[in-house]
Symmetry: C2
Subunit: 258 residues, 2 copies
C-alpha cells in the first residue's frame, strides 16, 4: 500500500531534499528510517518539491510503498523514533496506489523571510535573511504583484538549467511587513523553476533598496531570458509552507509560523 507523509525539517544540516550518496539529505534520512521500520524492501521515497540545501519545510509531502500492519499513527510514531531531531513526520495517510506527490500537487506555497532591522536577530537568524538596510515594502509589494499570472519565468532560471519549459502559473505573490523588522514574501504557484523564489527575492530586495524599480521586474517577466535575474538570495530565508492536492486527497496541514 502507498502512504503519504507530511514532513517538517530544518534545512541547515541537509544537502537538500533529494537523495545523494554519502551526503545527508531529507530523502536519504527518510529512506533509512523507513528501511529500519518496514524492511529493506521498502521502496524509494518520492517528494513533492525539491528543496535546495539550507531550505526549510513545514509541509513537505512524501510518499512511500510499504507492507505493514501498523496503523497510520503507529507508522508516524515509528518513523519519528528513527529520525534525527531536525526532521520529523507530522502526518501519515493512506493514499491511492497511483498517488504521486509531485505530479498530483496542484499548488506549492513558500515563504521567504527578510530581516531589514538595524541588527540581525540571533534567535531568528536561522530562518531569515538579514539585509543591512531598511527596505521599501510598498515598492516591493507593488513589484511582486507583477509575478502573478501565467508567465515564462526564464529570467529567474539558471542558465545551466535543463532546457525544459519555464512557464509557471503564480497564483499569488505578496510582500508584507510581518513585524517591525521582518518582511515576508509569500508566493503560491502550481510549480516553480529551480531557484525561482530566491532569485525573485533578490530582485525584490533590489527594488526595496532603490537600486532597481518595478519596470525592471516587469521587463524581466516580459522578456524572458535565462539568468537575467542572476542574483540569488540565500537559502536559509526560504521555507516550503505547504503543498496542496485535490480536495479528495486533503493532504494539507496548516502552516504554523515559527
Amino acid at each position: 500500500m502507498r502512504i503519504a507523509l507530511i514532513v517538517e525539517y530544518e534545512g541547515a544540516d541537509f544537502s537538500g531534499s533529494q537523495f545523494q550518496l554519502n551526503t545527508r539529505t531529507v530523502q536519504g534520512e527518510l529512506e533509512t528510517a523507513a528501511a529500519t521500520i518496514f524492511g529493506e524492501k521498502s521502496g524509494r521515497i518520492s517528494l513533492a518539491s525539491r528543496t535546495d540545501s539550507g531550505v526549510h519545510a513545514f509541509g513537505q509531502v512524501a510518499s512511500l510503498d510499504v507492507e505493514t500492519r501498523l496503523s497510520n499513527e503507529e507508522m508516524r510514531h515509528a518513523m519519528n523514533g528513527n529520525l534525527p531531531s531536525d526532521l520529523c513526520v507530522k502526518l501519515v495517510k493512506l493514499v491511492p496506489a497511483n498517488f504521486d506527490p509531485r505530479r498530483n500537487a496542484v499548488a506549492r506555497e513558500y515563504r521567504y523571510a527578510i530581516n531589514d532591522g538595524p541588527t540581525h536577530s540571533p534567535i531568528r537568524r536561522r530562518r531569515e535573511y538579514y539585509v543591512n538596510r531598511r527596505l521599501d515594502v510598498t515598492a516591493m509589494a507593488d513589484a511582486a504583484r507583477n509575478f502573478t499570472g501565467v508567465h515564462d519565468f526564464a529570467s529567474f532560471a539558471a542558465s545551466t538549467a535543463h532546457p525544459v519549459s519555464t512557464v509557471r502559473h503564480v497564483e499569488s505573490a505578496t510582500v508584507t511587513r510581518d513585524t517591525e523588522d521582518r518582511i515576508a514574501f509569500d508566493i503560491r504557484a502550481n510549480a516553480f523553476v529551480r531557484q525561482q523564489i530566491r532569485r525573485m527575492v533578490a530582485a525584490l530586495i533590489a527594488v526595496g533598496n532603490g537600486s532597481k524599480n518595478e519596470d525592471w521586474i516587469v521587463s524581466l517577466i516580459n522578456h524572458p531570458r535565462r539568468d537575467s535575474a542572476s542574483q540569488n538570495a540565500p537559502p536559509h530565508g526560504l521555507t516550503l509552507m505547504r503543498v496542496e492536492y485535490p480536495t479528495d486527497l486533503s493532504l494539507t496541514l496548516n502552516p504554523v509560523v515559527a
Copy 2:
C-alpha cells in the same frame, strides 16, 4: 559615561548570562567585545536579569561605563562587529551615571513556549518544550491566574537557594493557545525567584495533563515551602522578552515573536 544596551541572544550555547571563568557566558562575550572596542579599562557589564544556561532573551538589558567619542549607533555597530552570531546588541543608549539595570527595573516579562502537538517541530525545537500529550489550556489558564498578586513564591524556589525573601509581585500570568500545537505562558512580575518560571511551567503542565488540579497550585502559593514544586521545565522553552524601566528611561524594545 554609562551606556545601556538592549541585548538579544539564543541561549543554547551559553552557560547562562553571568560571567564564569573558562565558560562561555553572555556577560563574558559582551565584556570581551567591549574590551576590544573601549579598551581594557572598560568596566564590568551589569545585566538586568540572570538567565540560566539555555534560556533565551529578546530584550535583556545591560549597562557599562565607557570613555569614547563614538555615537550610540557607532557603538552598537562596533559591538556587533565583535560579537558571535548568537548574541547581538539591538540598541545603545546613554543613561544616567547611577543607572543600574537590575535595581532600576520595574518589571520583567518572560514567555515560555510549549508544543503539545502530535510531534515535535524540527524548525521550532530550539525554543519550545515538546510535551508528548495534549494539554488542557483552559485548566492551565485558570490555575495560572492564581499566580497573580503579591505572594511568597518559596514553593517555586530551590531548597538550596539563599535564605532571602521569596516574596514577589506577579502582575500578570496568562496561558494561551498560540497556534494549533503551541501554548504560550506569559508572565510579568517585578522580579522572579531563581527557576520560578520553569517550576511554574512544570506545575501548570501537571495541571494541563490532569495529574494535578488548580487547588494544588493554590496550596503551593498559600503554603509557601521551599522546593515543594520541585519539577523544573527545561530552559530552552523560556525567553526573557523585555525588561521595563521608569518611563523617563524609556529603555524598551518591543518584543518580536520569532
